[in-house]
């Protein structure tokens, strides 16, 4: 039987909006290989860079925050970004686990 997890991220997004914050919703839409979070996992980011929830095990969240803040700044409705495995020797953003994920960002308007 399936039982969906429910992290109440959408509810939190609503609270943020009602507190007059700008919110971008980031959702894992595809995964390949061993990725830490399943499809449908979410995080939210506001214009100040505060965030809640997750799309990975902490590997790419900082980049997602940056992208989301950019989306708000440029006033764009949505964007799709992909993350691949990171180079171990560099401090670049990527998934140390060897997986790949695709994340969809959308501004709540």
């Amino acid at each position: 039987m399936k039982n969906s997890f429910d992290e109440k991220i959408l509810e939190e997004a609503n609270d943020w909006i009602e507190a007059n914050q700008k919110v971008v919703l980031a959702t894992v839409i595809q995964t390949w290989g061993s990725s830490p979070r399943q499809v449908g996992s979410r995080m939210i980011v506001n214009e100040k860079g505060d965030f809640s929830g997750s799309v990975s095990g902490g590997c790419v969240e900082s980049a997602v925050v940056r992208e989301c803040m950019g989306l708000i700044k440029d006033n764009k409705p949505c964007k799709k970004i992909e993350f691949k495995v990171s180079n171990e020797s560099a401090w670049e953003v990527g998934l140390a686990c060897g997986g790949e994920i695709s994340v969809y960002l959308e501004q709540i308007i």
Binding site: K2, D6, L10, N14, Y104, Q107
Partner: protein, 226 residues
């Protein structure tokens, strides 16, 4: 996504309706899908695949398209019998899991709202209480009173309705006696052995939150076994 749509999604989640959100990843348009509801032209051409995702309770991008489907399923009903200390921690742990909890306890001083704020508490004997809750093989029972007067009727109801998870608190001796009583009431060995007793996975802890943790771990594990 529009704020009005976000609010509608939250409302549907709260009323335990099964639905899906369909999103066009190219242009950002999204809609709420429900069986027998008309979709706009953009999404209607993918109706069969959307229905398929919905039936399989699956999230993902429809192959060779830019359409993302996210399904929302009804939470699993978990009935706790006994508004005891352990139940308070169970309610806490279950908050971040998709379980819909109801508590049954005929003893008013246990089943108070002050002890369980925002919870569905049925202050009746199990036979009466179960008339108010629709249950089936996708329901779970956690019996915590270890009082045969209260637990036994609930266990009998759960066995008859073939709940996928039935657990009962109590020592090995208490459980042996319980099994004997159920046998005398006409339940067969297979039914009786399906009860998890003593309840919970072996964690080693004996405090109320530790027992609650071991119960919720067993419940989640049994949910995915099904």
């Amino acid at each position: 996504m529009k704020h009005s749509q976000l609010k509608e999604i939250i409302k549907k989640k709260a009323s335990k309706i099964e639905f899906a959100i369909v999103t066009n990843l190219e242009n950002g348009l999204s809609e709420i899908y429900e069986p027998n509801k008309l979709l706009s032209k953009d999404f209607d051409i993918h109706k069969n695949q959307i229905e398929n995702f919905f039936k399989l309770k699956k999230n993902g991008v429809i192959e060779n398209t830019e359409i993302f489907v996210e399904t929302y399923i009804r939470p699993i009903k978990v009935i706790i019998v006994g508004a005891v200390h352990i139940a308070q921690y169970l309610v806490d742990f279950a908050k971040s899991l998709n379980f819909e909890i109801s508590i049954i306890d005929p003893r008013g001083y246990f089943a108070s709202e002050q002890r369980f704020p925002d919870m569905k508490i049925i202050n009746k004997w199990p036979e009466e209480a179960f008339k108010e809750i629709e249950t089936n093989e996708n329901s779970a029972l956690i019996a915590l009173t270890h009082d045969p007067k209260i637990d036994d009727p609930a266990l009998q109801h759960a066995l008859n309705k073939k709940f996928y998870y039935i657990g009962a608190l109590g020592s090995k001796k208490t459980h042996e006696n319980r099994c004997q009583r159920l046998k005398e009431s006409g339940f067969d060995n297979e039914q009786i052995n399906s009860i998890h007793g003593p309840i919970g996975i072996k964690l080693g802890g004996r405090s109320a939150p530790e027992i609650a943790l071991s119960i919720i771990a067993q419940l989640v594990s049994e949910t995915y076994k099904k």
